[in-house]
Every structure is written in structure tokens, then in C-alpha cells.
Symmetry: C2
Subunit: 408 residues, 2 copies
């Protein structure tokens, strides 16, 4: 999700700036949702899932409630088969519990990244919240543009506008203070389309998959291009993943010693970009082990997926393909955020060769998207969209109500 940019002769600048510029190009801020999602128009037809031929009778009977939100098809079966193989001590693919490492991207894989990354909404809201302490911002760009909602000017500034916003919203606090700021923001900030708390908009089937893996003695990690300090305050409640099992991008931190004790202070300088080729490196630095299971949704996850799938023994690389334009947003090759282009090719090609790659078709494979969705065929409130072109009814279930007998 986040790219490294080289600016000038010195060093890379905060990758989130890239993220921000992509979003600002298409959206007018968290309180003014994108009039359209550019990627949606470029949406490919639901692609063929490159797994083994369909088998309506899974060889391994799923445990009760295991992956209950997943359509009973070949992709669900492939996940269950993988877990059965690595947990069966008699299997040649058995993996000791300590080595059952599963890594998950966050934005677009565990929760929604449309119409903008949640962290971007936080940046813009945070600038507004800090403005009273910075009266000079009323006349100083890029802050002036944010405060006036003048996204056109902000966009025209490019990185020169974006980087100060990132630093002003994320740095110059202690570690404890920033943690509190994020927690407080998430208590009230709402998704511009669904009008729900962001933490209520996690993907229910993926949260179920996390729990399913942990029930089989996997240790689950988040490995995200997003800022690690932005994720840690809430991922335990949302996903059951403790803060110390989150790997992400980060700005530098510094120890400020004092006789009274000392503290960690966050600095306005990039430290590590945990995206693209940074993901396997981030995993290596943080965990020291190659995962046996990885899930992502974009080209930014491809290196992590390849490293995971490339090890010996049983492996599984899973890509969430956003094919559902009714319950969520359909996007892939042309999307400004969560672009899935090369990864789509790799998953399709390797899957067709019998390699352990699964391309999850969100529309076909998930009986729910969000926790608050009614399951397919059942009544329920569902997310409440705020965009007139997507009436509330449309957010519920355009998926088939019976499991497909062939794999899509």
C-alpha cells in the first residue's frame, strides 16, 4: 500500500506521503468522500481462482464453525486442507506449533482501504484537531489548505504539502501520547461511506480466519505498510493480535533520558517502509522466521507472499481480490490504492501450476463482508452508505446464496 519515494539527493521521504498524494488525487478528505472510486470503473471481471479443481466434498471435514463465513468451495477447502496438513503429526507436511507463523496485511486485507486509507483520514482530522494550538497554520500551507478543505491546492503542492502533514500528525509526541491520540480518534471517527466506526468495518471472514489459525496453534501477525504506531492501539480488540505481533512502517523514535525517568519521543524522520520489498525484510527483522502462511491484497504484499510461498514444506499464499462492488468496492489493476496487478498475474499463473496460491473472490467466497452485514439471504441492517449512488440496499449481498458447484 505504501511506496518508497526518492526525493532529492539525500534520503527517502515518508512513504505515507505517496499514499496521501494518491488519495488526495481522488478524494476531498475524510468528511467528503470520493465522488467515485476510480478503480471501480477499471474493475476486471471476477478472476478465476487458481486452485485445484472444485470438490464439493472436502477431503477434510471442517471443524464446527471453522470458516463458517466462507462459501464452501475449493478455496475454503484449500485453506482447511493446508491447516490439516501442517497440524497433523503424521503428515509429511507437519509443522511444529512454534513454527506456524501466519502474516496478514492490514489495509484491504483485514479492513477496508476504500475510499481512502483509514490512516489518511486520521492525518487530516489530526491536523484539524491540532490547529487551535497552531494559529499560524491558518495562513501557512499546507495546513491552510487542510483547514479550508481546499484539496485542490493541497494536491498541487505534492510532497511539499504532504510531508509536513504527516510529520505534524504523527511526530513530536511521546509514545504514550500518540497511543492515546489514536485510541481517542477511533472512538468517534466514522467511515465516510458506511457511517460506522472504522473498527467495526473489519472483514468478518478474515477475522474468523485469524481465529481459526490461532485455534490451530498458529501465531498470527499483522505485516502492514501502514504506520505501526497507528495500528497497535486497536488491533488486539479488532483482530485478537497483540501489539507486539504487529510489523509496520515507522518514523524514528528517540530515548530522552532524564533523572526522573525518561521517555520515548517520536521524531519527524522516516525510519522504515514496511511495504513491497520491505515486507519480507520487516518480517525477517522482527520475527527472524519465514512465515508458512501469508495473506495480502495488493502488489505491495507480493514480496511477502513470494517469500512465504517459496519455503520448503507446506505453504499458503492468499490474496483477497476485491470483486464485490455491492457489499464493498471492486478494484484491482487500476486502483490508486491497493493496486493488484502483478500480484493478480502471479497468483493466477502459479495457482494454475498447482503452487500454493489462493485468489479469494470476495463476492463469491464470503457470505459476509463486514461484521454488521446480514449473512447472505438473511435480513439485517448492514453498513449504512452515505453515497447516494450506492443505496443501503445495494450494500447487501449480490453474492450467490448457494455455494457454487464450480470454482470461479
Amino acid at each position: 500500500m505504501i511506496r518508497l519515494i526518492q526525493t532529492g539527493p539525500t534520503r527517502p521521504v515518508l512513504a505515507l506521503a505517496w499514499l496521501l498524494s494518491l488519495h488526495l488525487a481522488g478524494c476531498a478528505g475524510p468528511s467528503t468522500p470520493c465522488p467515485e472510486t476510480p478503480a471501480a470503473a477499471a474493475q476486471e471481471p471476477a478472476s478465476v481462482a487458481p486452485v485445484a479443481a472444485a470438490d464439493p466434498q472436502p477431503a477434510v471435514a471442517p471443524a464446527p464453525l471453522a470458516l463458517s463465513l466462507w462459501t464452501d468451495n475449493a478455496r475454503r477447502k484449500a485453506i482447511i486442507d493446508f491447516v490439516a496438513r501442517v497440524t497433523d503429526p503424521k503428515s509429511e507436511n507437519y509443522v511444529p506449533a512454534a513454527e506456524r507463523i501466519a502474516v496478514f496485511d492490514n489495509d484491504g486485507t483485514l479492513w477496508s482501504e476504500q475510499p481512502m486509507y483509514v490512516q489518511l483520514a486520521f492525518v487530516l482530522d489530526r491536523i484539524k484537531a491540532l490547529a487551535p494550538q497552531h494559529p499560524e497554520w491558518k495562513k501557512k500551507q499546507p495546513y491552510k489548505a487542510v483547514l479550508e478543505g481546499d484539496m485542490k491546492t493541497l494536491m498541487a503542492m505534492g510532497n511539499e504539502g504532504i510531508i509536513p502533514l504527516m510529520m505534524s500528525s504523527h511526530a513530536a509526541t511521546t509514545a504514550d501520547e500518540f497511543d492515546t491520540v489514536v485510541r481517542e480518534w477511533l472512538k468517534t471517527a466514522r467511515h465516510p461511506k458506511y457511517n460506522q466506526l472504522y473498527t467495526d468495518l473489519t472483514y468478518a471472514p478474515m477475522v474468523e480466519l485469524l481465529a481459526y489459525l490461532r485455534a490451530n496453534d498458529f501465531k498470527t501477525f499483522i505485516v502492514s505498510g501502514g504506520g505501526v504506531a497507528f495500528m497497535r492501539p486497536w488491533v488486539e480488540a479488532a483482530y485478537g493480535i497483540p501489539p507486539e505481533q504487529v510489523v509496520g512502517s515507522r518514523i524514528k523514535a528517540e530515548w530522552k533520558d532524564s533523572d526522573a525517568g525518561g521517555n520515548i519521543v517520536r521524531l519527524a524522520e522516516l525510519d522504515f517502509i514496511n511495504d513491497g520489498p520491505g515486507k519480507p525484510v520487516g518480517i525477517y527483522n522482527a520475527l527472524g522466521r519465514r512465515p508458512i502462511f501469508a495473506a495480502g491484497n495488493s502488489d505491495g504484499d507480493l514480496a511477502m507472499l513470494k517469500w512465504t510461498a517459496g519455503g520448503s514444506g507446506a505453504r499458503l499464499a492468499l490474496i483477497v481480490h476485491h470483486t464485490d462492488d455491492l457489499r464493498e468496492t471492486a478494484y484491482d489493476r487500476k486502483s490508486g490504492m491497493g493496486k493488484l496487478d502483478k500480484g493478480l498475474d502471479v497468483a493466477q499463473q502459479l495457482g494454475a501450476q498447482g503452487k500454493p496460491w489462493i485468489l479469494v473472490d470476495m463476492k463469491q467466497d464470503w457470505t459476509k463482508v463486514f461484521r454488521s452485514d446480514a449473512p447472505v439471504g438473511a435480513p439485517g441492517p448492514g453498513p449504512q452508505p452515505m453515497i447516494p449512488s450506492q443505496p443501503a440496499a445495494a450494500t447487501q449481498s449480490a453474492t450467490t446464496t448457494t455455494p457454487p458447484t464450480t470454482v470461479h
Copy 2:
């Protein structure tokens, strides 16, 4: 244990170089132990442990076998009391299990760092092992000096000699290859003084303390100035700590993509120094939580200990003071490695003020040092010293055989 050095106008150089230079100044390599340990001569008398007044009847009865290798005195009691307070749901100091984070330095805290860091022995042995692939090393410094055992020349070269050795021994391999190299080396390399495998020379009371904390639902981490990739291959067997719970110094790593998969390659460039002020930063970056328990043994651990002790609620900062010149090596303020000077003052001053700092007196407080030691008063082989001035008998127990009635 490892210091940051500024060399020239550009950037810090590998901290292990400093480590290496300190060692080379006093030792002639892993197969030629230091003729004397400089710190020993400067040894202070066993310092006063700054904990509450002695109480031969602990208020909290220890669980069976809990800290059985610790002398039953006020320091042992302070550890047990702390654990009792944070685990009792009725206590005002109760801490939920998920937040019971305990961090331990490695060298000098969990295993011996005398007469040299184990990682340094690895560096020198690794250069020798790689020499056949590098015939030019026979005539090229600093390799020539290592191969000829010419420590005098190597010492005179300073960082210019040391940095290439570090890089040649740690970089230019894949992640998997380096892991294997470390595992293989530890199978045969032996401590120059005790003639045992290094992994057999962990401190038994500290290994017991780790297990005791985990039995009370603490999550235990290593936070070391040593190289993280050097520790991860063996810490699970030695301490019960999995690789993903190890934080350490590191060189840069890079993802090398390929159609066939890709790999992690280790580069000859410093990435992070996890020592001194780097320790709380390393913990923040890796865990995102402030620990409630920390153990160290040197000034390089002081920032970590202060950050840990400075939080709200119940906290414990523990320093292992190397007071035992018979069973191990006595050293503190003047030692070239594991220097404990400012930390000794801080622990004594804050402990005297009733702050949660414990200065463990190795000689008084541990009934065993190494796993292979006979317990105090019992027969047993003990480590086999190779230094004539320290006969085998002297390695066993100069400690008191009964718990002290006053605190030392």
C-alpha cells in the same frame, strides 16, 4: 554491552566494532583466553542490595520450585512479591496477562560475557572458517592478522581492522544460510575458560526466573546489544524464548526478488544499534509496549531499566551484579565489557529510596551459576576452568550455604 561510535562526518559504524576493539585490547582470541580479566582487579566489594529490610519469613510463600536456585533473601522475596502483586486480580497492582511484558538483556545477564562476548569468538572463528574461500586474506589485513593470530597488529588497526571482520563474518549471506552457520558453530565451539559449549553456560537462576515469569503468564523477550541474527537460532532451546521475541542489533537486510521466489540477503551495512538509548527504542519499535519487568547487567541496559521502572503501577528493574570471582568473574565499574558504573549508582540510589530496583548479588543470591554447577554444598563436576589461576575446585561455591539474615 555495545556502544555507538561516531566515525568521521557520515554515520555511526557497527557498534560491534567497539565491542571487538575492547576485547582485542585484553584478549588474544577465542582459543587464547585473556591472561587476566582487567575488570577483576578493579572489582568493588559486593555492594549493598537496595531492597527492603531482610525478612527471613517471606510474606508470600513461594510456589514449590519457584526460584529454587535463588538464596531465600530479600531480593528473591522482592521478585516473588512483585509477581504476586501483578498476578493477583484483587491487587491494586494487578496487570492483565497480555500486558505482562518482561525483557532480558542477554550477554552478562543470561549467559557469560567473559572473557569475551560469544559473538566475538564467532567473528574470529568465522573468519578462519571462510579463509579457504579467500586466499587473498593471507596477505590482506585485517584478515592476515586474524589468520596468523597476530592480535597486536589487529588491535593497532582499530576500527579499520574490525569493521571488515564484522562484515565478512555476518553479511553477504542469505538469512537462511547465516542461521545455519550460527547453529553449526554453536555445536562445536567451546568456551575458552570452562571448555563447555556456550549454550551450556547460561545462568541457571536466570533461566529459572524466565520460566517462573512465564508460568505466571508473562511474555519474555530478549533485548540485547548483540546481533539479533546471531541469537535467534539458539535462544529457544537455551531460554524457551522463540526467535520472534528477540530484539537486538542488526545489519541491513534486503529482498532479492526472482521469478523462482526470492530471498533475504544480509548487507554489510549497519541498520540498528540496540544498546544504551537504543534499547527502549528497540523495544518500542518491536513491541509497542513498555515492559513491566526488565533485567540487565550493564550501563548499556540502563535506559531500558529506567523506561521499565518509570511506568505507572507495579514495576521491577533487576540488575545482575557480577560479584562472584570464583564461580564466574567479578567485574563492574572498570570492566571493558559489561561495564556497570552509572547503573550501579542508579540502582543503589533508587533502591534506597524504595524504588523498584533490585541489585542481584550473584555470589550471595545464586546457589548455582551455570547449569552444570553443583549446587552449593553438593558435590558435582562444575565447569572445568582452563586458566591455571582458577583451579576447578575454586569454581564451586564461595557463597554462604545458609540464607543471610541481613541483606548484602
